[in-house]
């Protein structure tokens, strides 16, 4: 995606004298000096300059600076597809809220409060987003240790039951961070909504219909929902904190475990961001392999959505049919990466292995077969009367919602917003293949269903084209750019070449320093735009790594859309938003 052009920047500069503009190769930002002015600037950007697509808000901690915290908005102009970051310092830990201008900022501000302890003037319910109420610390601050602060003695019950054996059953630290009790959890629940209707219904956190561990609170008047809040954090593992403590290449397998249904796509977004930062070129073959696997993974992920989404609405058959195809894709991925689900197949600078023998034939057969299977799914659902009744005109998301809440992916496209990073800012080999972006009309559950079904078809088309291109390539074409100093050479070279061995040893042990700078780079995941913002200070690990999670923002529209609808619609709507908890909570 192009960053804001110089004309746009000039216009903004003209309107507000007190801002400075910082232009980097992969990053353009406005530095706002006067904190109180930020509301006006955001309003101006939204209304006059048309930067109305809210993408992200996050905070960076600089303990040594005078105003410790730096807030950053990322906005997009949905007509010209320009992207712009706006930086502003917190004044004595306070910033005026942006939730009136961009409702999507509400959750982002909650998260910022939870992780950094910063406050927002005018935001009446700043609550803990991921941790529970009464949690004492702010984990993403630089002075907080990764492992937390051990507070309570929590022995392993296996050891208690079996007795202290010699040698010990396992080696572990008996001191543990504070584990909340039911009272803490109840307090968290009570703080979220004040009951207005007749009954507050809990849905989740351990309910099969919530696609993981989400916790919904529904305030009900009869069967109609008049108030909703979502409690997240039941899978908050501290990914952003982990990233700050690891070398760049070490964080790659963690990205697999975020949105665990689309591991390759996550990796692709991440390696892309690092490659832009370190200026690494990727060989053509690797680009094609990446595209092919990302698209296979997209089909894989959409199949799971199809299976579970239909299962939630009572159609068990689709679940079994969809998993049949999933197994085939997983076999292709396993054959190449050696792992079924969390594959860790890509590497910074290329891919880990060359294509395994026979991959192309298998993939070719799969795609050929998949078209007919897709027809089968259509036959099961598209004209099914029950399916139509449950999905048509249910959970309508308008275009304005899409912009204001920062919805991306099939949820945005279902509402008619043709926002697809693969087209706007082509990465990997997406500029070399031909595909279409399906868009919906009204933005109900059925439209999102059709969009995802069509996306599977388009993905299959892309895979076909990648296979064609890969077949034409000579066999010994490089699949990783091993000349670059930050790229770990593949194992076949490490075992045969002294120089490569030394290089591999050096990077694995010490890491490779990445040049100073900032980058925000995103990829089109099956669920939307997964962005990585990296702030590098020239070390081998990032100073701050922010994950712009698509599921998180997509879910933030849920309370608004479900208002005055029934619980049965909530199931259909959640299925169509298709969040993955590993990514909402990170």
């Amino acid at each position: 995606m192009p960053w804001a052009s110089s004309q746009t920047l000039d216009r903004i500069k003209h309107a507000f004298r007190k801002i400075t503009i910082d232009t980097q190769p992969n990053f353009v930002c406005l530095n706002v000096e006067d904190t109180q002015e930020i509301t006006n600037i955001l309003k101006h950007l939204k209304d006059i300059e048309d930067f109305r697509y809210f993408i992200d808000f996050h905070v960076i901690d600089f303990p040594k600076e005078k105003d410790r915290f730096l807030g950053q908005y990322i906005l997009v102009n949905p007509y010209t597809f320009e992207r712009l970051a706006v930086k502003v310092w917190f004044k004595s830990n306070k910033l005026p809220t942006a939730k009136e201008i961009f409702p999507g900022a509400k959750w982002a501000e909650r998260e910022a409060y939870d992780m950094f302890g910063v406050e927002f003037e005018g935001h009446e319910d700043v609550k803990r987003m991921f941790m529970w109420e009464d949690y004492k610390y702010f984990p993403l601050r630089k002075d907080f240790p990764l492992g937390g602060i051990p507070e309570q003695k929590l022995p392993s019950l296996t050891e208690v039951l079996e007795g202290n054996t010699f040698p010990p059953s396992h080696d572990y630290d008996i001191m543990h961070t504070y584990v909340p009790n039911m009272k803490d959890i109840e307090k968290t629940e009570k703080s979220r909504i004040t009951k207005k209707g007749q009954l507050v219904l809990n849905w989740g956190p351990l309910h099969p219909g919530t696609h993981g561990t989400m916790w919904f609170l529904f305030d009900l008047e009869g069967e109609h929902i008049i108030q909703t809040d979502v409690i997240l954090g039941q899978l908050h593992r501290g990914m952003e904190k982990i990233a700050e403590n690891l070398h760049y290449f070490q964080f790659l397998p963690y990205t697999d475990r975020m949105d665990y249904l689309s591991a390759v796509c996550n990796e692709l977004s991440y390696v892309q961001a690092v490659e832009k930062l370190a200026n690494i070129e990727v060989p053509l073959k690797a680009r094609y392999i990446r595209t092919m696997f990302a698209e296979l993974q997209r089909i894989n992920s959409h199949l799971l959505w199809l299976g579970t989404g239909a299962l939630d609405l009572g159609a068990l058959t689709v679940f079994l049919y969809a998993f049949r195809e999933r197994e085939k894709i997983m076999d292709i991925i396993e054959g190449n990466a050696g792992f079924r689900l969390t594959s860790a197949f890509l590497r910074i600078g290329g891919v880990h292995y060359d294509l395994a023998k026979g991959t192309l034939e298998v993939a070719k057969y799969f795609v050929k077969d998949f078209y007919s299977k897709l027809k089968e799914y259509h036959g099961l659902l598209t004209r099914n009367r029950i399916w139509l009744k449950r999905t048509k005109d249910v959970g309508v998301i308008t275009q304005e919602d899409v912009y204001q809440y920062g919805l991306t992916g099939p949820v945005a496209r279902g509402s008619g917003v043709a926002y697809d990073i693969r087209k706007i800012d082509p990465y990997a080999a997406y500029d070399l293949v031909d595909f279409d972006i399906p868009v919906g009309d009204i933005g109900d559950v059925y439209d999102r269903y059709l969009v995802r079904m069509e996306e599977m078809y388009q993905s299959a088309r892309i895979v076909e084209q990648c296979i064609e291109a890969l077949e034409k390539m000579p066999e010994n074409e490089p699949y990783v750019n091993k000349k670059h100093p930050a790229v770990i050479p593949p194992k076949e070279y490490v075992f045969n070449d002294l120089e490569d061995m030394v290089k591999s040893f050096r990077i694995v042990v010490h890491g490779e320093n990445i040049p100073k700078g900032e980058v925000y780079s995103s990829g089109e995941n099956p669920r939307g735009e997964l962005g990585f913002y990296i702030y590098s200070i020239g070390k081998s690990s990032p100073y701050r790594l922010r994950i712009r999670s698509c599921s998180f923002y997509n879910l933030s529209v849920f309370p608004k859309v479900i208002y005055k609808h029934t619980i049965s619609d909530a199931v259909a709507l959640l299925g169509s938003i298709d969040p993955v908890v590993g990514e909402t909570d990170r």
């Binding site: 991921f130 941790m131 610390y137 984990p139 907080f144 990764l146 492992g147 937390g148 602060i149 003695k153 929590l154 022995p155 392993s156 019950l157 296996t158 050891e159 208690v160 039951l161 396992h170 572990y172 630290d173 543990h176 961070t177 504070y178 584990v179 909340p180 009790n181 039911m182 009272k183 803490d184 959890i185 351990l206 099969p208 993981g212 561990t213 954090g233 039941q234 899978l235 908050h236 593992r237 501290g238 904190k241 982990i242 963690y254 475990r257 665990y260 249904l261 799971l304 299976g307 679940f319 079994l320 049919y321 998993f323 049949r324 999933r326 197994e327 079924r340 689900l341 969390t342 908890v581």
Partner: protein
């Protein structure tokens, strides 16, 4: 069954063994997925691996289930809720810790992650992997069957009494004992 069939078609066995035979051949896990491992758990139940054929049917209510498969990372916030579900399950019950995270925190030695589900729930079978393959899960379930066959049903109350002696009252309320 370790028993003999005599000529008249009678089986002689002990009641304990008969119960254990019944228990191990109808292990009903609770439908709970926490993270990535849950996807592989779903795969174990779906078309290709189909653990129904081993008599394992997922039950949505903990009251009807006797195996808790802890599939995924247990974070501190979800720990008391998971513990509640374990407490709601009727005896005899077993717990399988699926994957690295549930077994020992896995790759997440962080402020928010519970370092091993065995800190709140006694675990019978640990399955390594990140995530384990469906085959791995099925192997774990078969190992559990073997454990039930070889050992008598473990009663956890007794062990808990001893465990409680060492702990302070605040802590006990913390883990919901």
């Amino acid at each position: 069954m370790a028993s003999s069939i005599n000529g008249n078609g009678f089986i002689t066995t002990t009641v304990d063994e008969l119960l254990s035979w019944g228990r191990r051949n109808a292990l009903w896990p609770v439908t709970i997925g926490l993270a990535c491992c849950a996807i592989e758990m779903m795969h174990a139940a779906a078309s290709r691996f189909d653990i129904d054929r081993l008599g394992m049917i997922f039950r949505a209510s903990p009251r009807q289930a006797d195996v808790l498969i802890v599939a995924g990372t247990v974070v501190n916030k979800v720990a008391p809720m998971l513990k509640l579900i374990w407490d709601q399950m009727p005896e005899p019950k077993w717990c399988i810790s699926m994957g690295g995270c549930a077994s020992a925190g896995g790759p997440f030695p962080t402020y928010s992650t519970l370092q091993g589900v065995d800190r709140i729930i006694p675990v019978d079978v640990y399955i390594p992997g990140c995530p384990p393959t469906p085959q791995g899960l099925i192997y774990g379930l078969l190992e559990l069957q073997r454990k039930i066959r070889e050992k008598k049903v473990t009663r956890y109350e007794k062990a808990f009494e001893e465990f409680k002696k060492d702990l302070s009252p605040e802590l006990l309320s913390g883990i919901g004992v």
